[in-house]
Amino acid sequence: MYRTDATPSVQRKSASKSGRVGFLDDLGRILPEIQRERCDAAAKRAKEFLLNAPQKIDTERLTYLLEAYREFDYEPPIVLRARLFDRLLQSKRLYIDDNPIVGTVTGHPAGVYVYPEWDSEWILKEMNQAMMSHLGKIDISKEEKQLMLEAARFFKERSALAKARRLSRQLHDWDPRPLLEAGLFTEGANFTKGAGNVDYETFLNKGLAAIIEETEARLHALKVTSENVGKIDFYRAVLITLRAVIALAHRYADLAEETAAATSDPIRKAELLEIAKVCRHVPEHPPRNFREAVQAWWFLHLGIQIEQGGCGSSPGRIGQYLSRYHLIDKAEGKSSEDALGWLKCLFVKILEFGYYQGITYSKLLSGHTGHTINVGGLDARGEDATTELDYLILDTQIELRNIQPTITVLYHDKLKEDFLLKAIDLERTGLGQPQWMNNNVIIERLLARHAKNGITLEDARNCINMSCVGTGVAGKTAFVSENMTFNLAKCFELALNDGIDPLTKKVVGARTGNPEEFADFDALYAAYDAQVRHLFEKIRPYGSIASKALGDTVPGAFRSALYGGCLERGKTESSGGADYYLYFVISTAGVDAANSLMAVKHLVFDTKRLSMRQLLDALAANFEGQEEIRLLCLAAPKHGNGIPEVDALVRRVYDDALTIFHSIDEGFYGEHKANIEAYSLTIHNYFGLLTGTLPTGRKKERPLTDASVSAQPGTDTQGPLALIASAAQALDTVKYGSNHFNMKFHPSAIQGIGGARKLLALIKEYMDLGGSHIQFNIVSSETLREAKETPEEYRDLTVRVAGFSAYFTRLHEGVQDELIARTELAFSR
């Protein structure tokens, strides 16, 4: 069980000259060095606990949810939702553990809320199956199941998803289920989503009391007109939520004081009283030091998470907007070590988040929570924005090695050498962090994407990476989806099957004819394009319907208030209030589609090595008894090798997807146009399960290619420089919302200062070629073991050994074993 009582503390009883108690300073605060130890210890314990503890569904929310919907059914949805938020924050169970930064989403450690207002179908269907979050299996009791079922039944017809489905039938006579079941796309109304990156900076610096005052003034200045009714309700709702967050902070202050009164340990008592003091002050008023700023940030973030917890609520440039508080501390004589302590306490808080919204959700995201912290980047004047706190964020992660939050370096040529080298030190941990984003590409992308939304150069420079690889303007970009994802490999599969899904046997695509009658590659390509068009024509209007259903059902007053623009306009995020929109759908398996097209072109049309019939039969048989054909497919030219013809085809696939997408006139957010993101999370895995055998040599139900511009595993054989050149050009990184590139490295490649410089040179080369995102997997011995077992999947894995490089799979067995052993050594350094 998690310890919630006080830590046995270091006893420092020697009284100082001034006669004050040994562990307190003149102002009665715990001495920094003692506080630092306590922060370290608390972070360490929390992390250990999270590694072992199962997450638990906390159904307390459901009680208040049902209560609020019954009690406040006379209110418009925005106010009803605000009252639910208030009820929850005023009534939910609180506890304080030994982390001096207080506040948790749910009433017990590692708790997870469920949100049947979005979708209750999964609850009804999957109630008795195992539930997994990124921290492991989720526990749930019998009584809790009962409550979940009750809530699920209540929202069966009331959920956003149910409304979207009904409206789609009524307006378009279209049911999305056959396309969903075929693995062509996933929809957007059924999951809660993170809030991208809200304007923490303004809300922290002003304090909520000041924002409340401003909002009251806005509300009272409004005449009651038909035009203003929406604004009136929005401001009413915002005021409820802002006050609720202050009330929550005060409840923690009360609890800390009560606990202090019952505590005999003098240090713990002092610590609790200090917690109480902090919570009485923030987030209501501006923070007075770094610790208060961290606590204030946490309360704001907690509000976002409680209102609607979901993947992609990113702290953004937290090391920059909290820098002023760090500087206050330094002026008072505090050290960087003190800041490090608070950062650790914050990082373990973020690690604790878990989301669970059904099996599909779990397969798509694998529990990823998308808490992305940005370091580096430029300021509004175009100068390096890196702060000392950014360095400390890297230090914190080097020490903690947390999977969340994740760190992004906003990369540009003005970054300082020591900062870059520290970022490489983080790579050396093998954590796969930081990820590197091309700051200049992001600026260009935002200027292009928001040209019609009046973007300024300053806003574009103040860009961030939020969620996974999405980008926007810090604090001003609403993070909303049209649909969640689509699957280009499936479009290719349909082109070979006349629009009939081989898995479900249903017609889910365009009727593009018998592929044996395709006269040439152009005919095949046209059939593929027709499938993509058919898909977008179906799902894009449905995406608009889903956006409407979400706005009708679950408008979020708190998160809207925090997005730049909504308070000024008096509108929620879902009614177009935010300054900018990252209105997205995620493309998956573009590389699989391109490699498939290339393989058919090469084998059937160019070399005529196979007839279309032979190929179709082999695919239908999942290559069973057709190993030679599978090997031919694997050996066909592949993306990632700098082959001009393949590079051009990959680019064509991506260019066409974007062109077709934009040729369909959907405009739910007006001039804030939807756009395609290209990344994978674990969507390639989810869609892989629903995608049949491909002429890339991939068997059915196997994962598709990860990321969006990576090579199909095992098929890049020309070395890292050829791979990055192919990857950087695979899609237009300015027009697309993102690109996503994973690269594997043997640990020896980044050893020492020389290795660090070489990796930096490689990163710069990729950025200079126009790549926008890269992250590294330092190859593990695990991979090498797998490579030994299934060499055909790992043909690209090179290992550098004395005097020569070798393809790992071509090495003698004993040598492979030696290398496996050596990799383990390299990692244990």
Partner: protein
């Protein structure tokens, strides 16, 4: 043929690697020349010794489908009575006819004649990376000096025309004038010193060391940067006595920078693929720490090569 009617300079190369991290400064392209006057027993690149192209056949990837047997015009691949397929290297002319049909990648031809301009064009694609990382091009092998005209033409193009940092990885088994001609076109030499005793050297490499040591002396006297590489082979040169001799020789000649290349067995699989028996295989670990200490005591800067 070029416009003057001469043969365009060309040579046999068995690999070009474009992400070499450990053969000189920065990120480098390394061009591996085929053919070597030595035949070191421990050689990690056995395919580099023979100057001609050779077939490599990786039996552990082979499924004995027989496509090579069909393709081979010389019957170098055949079905033996005990099953599977068998390779007779003595019949193989390395024509490569069997390679495209091998879907499992069990067969490849090592070595291809390439023109200087082809190689220069290929490596210059990576100019930005060279510039960023302080890298360049390393010519390795085999022994590059064994194809001296090709080497001179290539270095001239890379160093004088393209302005790239060039590095020669050599065993220095060549007449001094041959090596001397290369020096104006080089920025760095990686010089192998294997043993100070002529007899032992001959026994293990097939050749004496008198010329090599003389060349080492002359290189030391040249203005060029030289990094000595000592392959540390158990039972050959890792005993104290020989290590002291190497240290003494280097201290005398003034070659103060050394990289120790610990023995490894990674060439074994390649030997097998060439249908050869490896002349030397040891499970012993080379005495790296002792070597480092002895060389350092002689005032030499020592690094251990990272694999």
């Amino acid at each position: 043929m070029n416009k003057k009617g001469q043969e365009a300079p060309s040579g046999v190369v068995f690999d070009i690697q474009h992400f070499s991290l450990h053969d000189g400064p920065g990120i480098r392209s390394t061009v591996f020349f085929k053919g070597c006057p030595l035949a070191c027993r421990w050689c990690g690149n056995p395919e580099s010794q023979n100057p001609r192209p050779q077939l490599m056949y990786f039996t552990h990837l082979c499924a004995a489908c027989g496509s090579c047997v069909q393709a081979c015009p010389k019957q170098a691949m055949f079905f033996p009575p005990e099953g599977g397929v068998r390779f007779d290297p003595s019949l193989c002319v390395a024509c490569g006819a069997c390679v495209p049909g091998c879907l499992r990648g069990a067969r490849s031809i090592s070595g291809r004649r390439q023109e200087v301009r082809e190689i220069v064009g290929e490596v210059r694609q990576h100019w930005r990376v060279f510039q960023q990382s302080g890298g360049g091009v390393t010519i390795s092998g085999g022994e590059p000096l064994a194809q001296k005209d090709f080497l001179l033409a290539l270095l001239t193009e890379l160093h004088d025309e393209a302005g790239l940092h060039t590095c020669l990885d050599t065993c220095a088994k060549a007449p001094w004038p041959v090596l001397e001609r290369m020096l104006p076109h080089l920025d760095l030499v990686l010089l192998d010193i294997k043993h100070t005793d002529a007899q032992k050297h001959r026994e293990w490499t097939g050749s004496g060391n008198a010329g090599i040591l003389k060349n080492a002396q002359k290189l030391a006297e040249s203005a060029l940067d030289v990094l000595v590489r000592v392959p540390l082979i158990p039972g050959f040169n890792d005993d104290d006595a020989e290590l002291y001799e190497i240290a003494r020789f280097l201290a005398q000649t003034g070659l103060k920078n050394v990289e120790i290349m610990p023995y490894h067995t990674l060439g074994l699989g390649k030997c097998r693929a060439l249908g050869q028996n490896h002349p030397f295989a040891s499970n012993a670990k080379p005495r790296v720490p002792e070597a480092v200490d002895i060389l350092k005591d002689a005032g030499i800067e020592v690094e251990v090569h990272r694999r």
